[in-house]
């Protein structure tokens, strides 16, 4: 893994998904806890920083008043965000969990409105500017924004690595199905945190 051309992309590590006071914690906690997802994502983040890799954040749209004004057909996830105010800008839920917080020099993409960190954002331009060709994508949600970001990345020509236990979903069934059925088809490499850390150390 070439540290100069590989970026670690963290998708939506929001308190609302990952903190015990988070709005969606009731739905995410089963997979997050059984995977040990937060500690594993943190260990990957720390290893990537030690290697000098680019670290990029791909945040979901934060709820704000009239933030989706002008959209004619809110999709189901947007509809729920408008009702629940999940990831509210300036509030606890709309901040990244401390364990996975960004550092100076990290790439901070503009927010994505649907599910892919690339669609309608400046993530691709920022990564291109750094000569990135390979991505390791971790964060939330396994079959939602993680998968969508991977799908876009593949269509944009990146080499994509997905990490089975540094992601989580709204239910164990969805997570397991996505890890077993979808990720191995749309990702170039599917690995776990332990193997990835060995690769990063070598």
């Amino acid at each position: 893994m070439n540290a100069e051309t590989t970026a670690l992309v963290l998708v939506d590590p929001y308190n609302d998904f990952l903190a015990r006071r988070g709005q969606a914690w009731m739905m995410t906690r089963d997979v997050v806890l059984s995977n040990g997802m937060i500690d594993k994502a943190r260990s990957i983040l720390e290893a990537a920083r030690r290697r000098g890799m680019t670290v990029a954040y791909a945040p979901h749209h934060r709820w704000r008043p009239n933030g989706l004004k002008g959209r004619k057909y809110l999709h189901p996830t947007q509809f729920m965000q408008e009702k629940s105010h999940i990831f509210a800008e300036g509030k606890f839920g709309g901040r990244f969990i401390a364990e996975l917080a960004p550092a100076d020099g990290d790439v901070m993409s503009s927010e994505h409105l649907c599910s892919s960190g690339f669609e309608g954002t400046d993530l691709h331009a920022q990564l291109l500017g750094r000569g990135i060709t390979h991505l390791v994508i971790i964060g939330m949600i396994t079959n939602s924004c993680i998968e969508a970001t991977a799908r876009s990345a593949v269509d944009l020509g990146y080499h994509v690595t997905l990490v089975t236990d540094a992601v989580a979903a709204f239910s164990p069934n969805e997570h397991d199905l996505a890890i077993r059925e979808t990720h191995p088809r749309i990702g170039h490499v599917v690995t776990d945190t332990s193997s990835l850390l060995e690769t990063l150390r070598s």
């Binding site: 959209r71 809110l74 189901p76 729920m80 593949v154 709204f170 996505a178 979808t182």
Partner: protein
């Protein structure tokens, strides 16, 4: 159990809230037949009949029918297993890349150039077509639900289009992959995931 209940309750609430979107004016609606090619849809398969019925019904309603085929990306630097799966199917016989015979395009259909991306929106012609025709409602179907229909659906939702997926006009790499798409993943982005008979009932015809 708790997750299932929360998911079900949320799904019900969302479906109820999005009901008002489900209007399909003929001049703003298109059926996208994604990768309905001989490589993926055999003439004797039930899916072939379902897709043909969807196309017939769409034309009778005055909806635009768009054929969006996929091609091998020989120059891709990094090929995924999905690309290799598609490539294998497209190379089984000389006519494998052609549109499935039961769906043979009608004169008013649009046949897009074959693309190399998973999402149909990888082709600039798709955005141009949507803008030129003033399309707002996309009905999606195809044999590669977990590979290409999913990617296309997400990109359509991103573009503020009203999206419908016809669940009995889909197939996937495995039954489990199809279950994941139809029951869990697509309902998070599609405004409506339903069977063709239900769609006909809602729209008429």
């Amino acid at each position: 159990m708790r997750n299932s209940l929360l998911n079900a309750a949320t799904g019900w609430y969302v479906r109820r809230g999005l009901r008002t979107y489900h209007r399909y004016p003929a001049d703003k609606t298109a059926v996208f037949l994604v990768d309905v090619q001989r490589a993926f849809v055999g003439s004797g398969q039930p899916l072939s009949g379902s897709l043909a019925e969807l196309a017939r019904w769409a034309r009778s309603r005055g909806f635009l029918v768009v054929h969006a085929p996929i091609a091998v990306d020989a120059g891709a630097a990094f090929k995924t297993p999905a690309h290799r799966q598609i490539e294998r199917a497209l190379s089984t016989q000389a006519d494998a890349p052609e549109l499935a015979s039961a769906l043979g395009p009608s004169p008013d259909d649009v046949v897009l150039p074959a693309r190399k991306t998973l999402s149909v929106f990888g082709l600039p012609e798709v955005d141009a077509l949507i803008e030129a025709r003033g399309l707002e409602h996309l009905i999606l179907a195809g044999p590669l639900a977990d590979l290409t229909v999913d990617s296309s659906l997400r990109d359509a939702a991103q573009r503020d289009l009203h999206t419908t997926v016809v669940s009995d006009c889909l197939a996937a790499s495995t039954p489990a992959a199809l279950e994941l798409e139809v029951r869990h993943t697509m309902p998070r982005y599609a405004h409506l995931v339903t069977e063709l008979d239900d769609l006909k009932r809602r729209i008429g015809g």
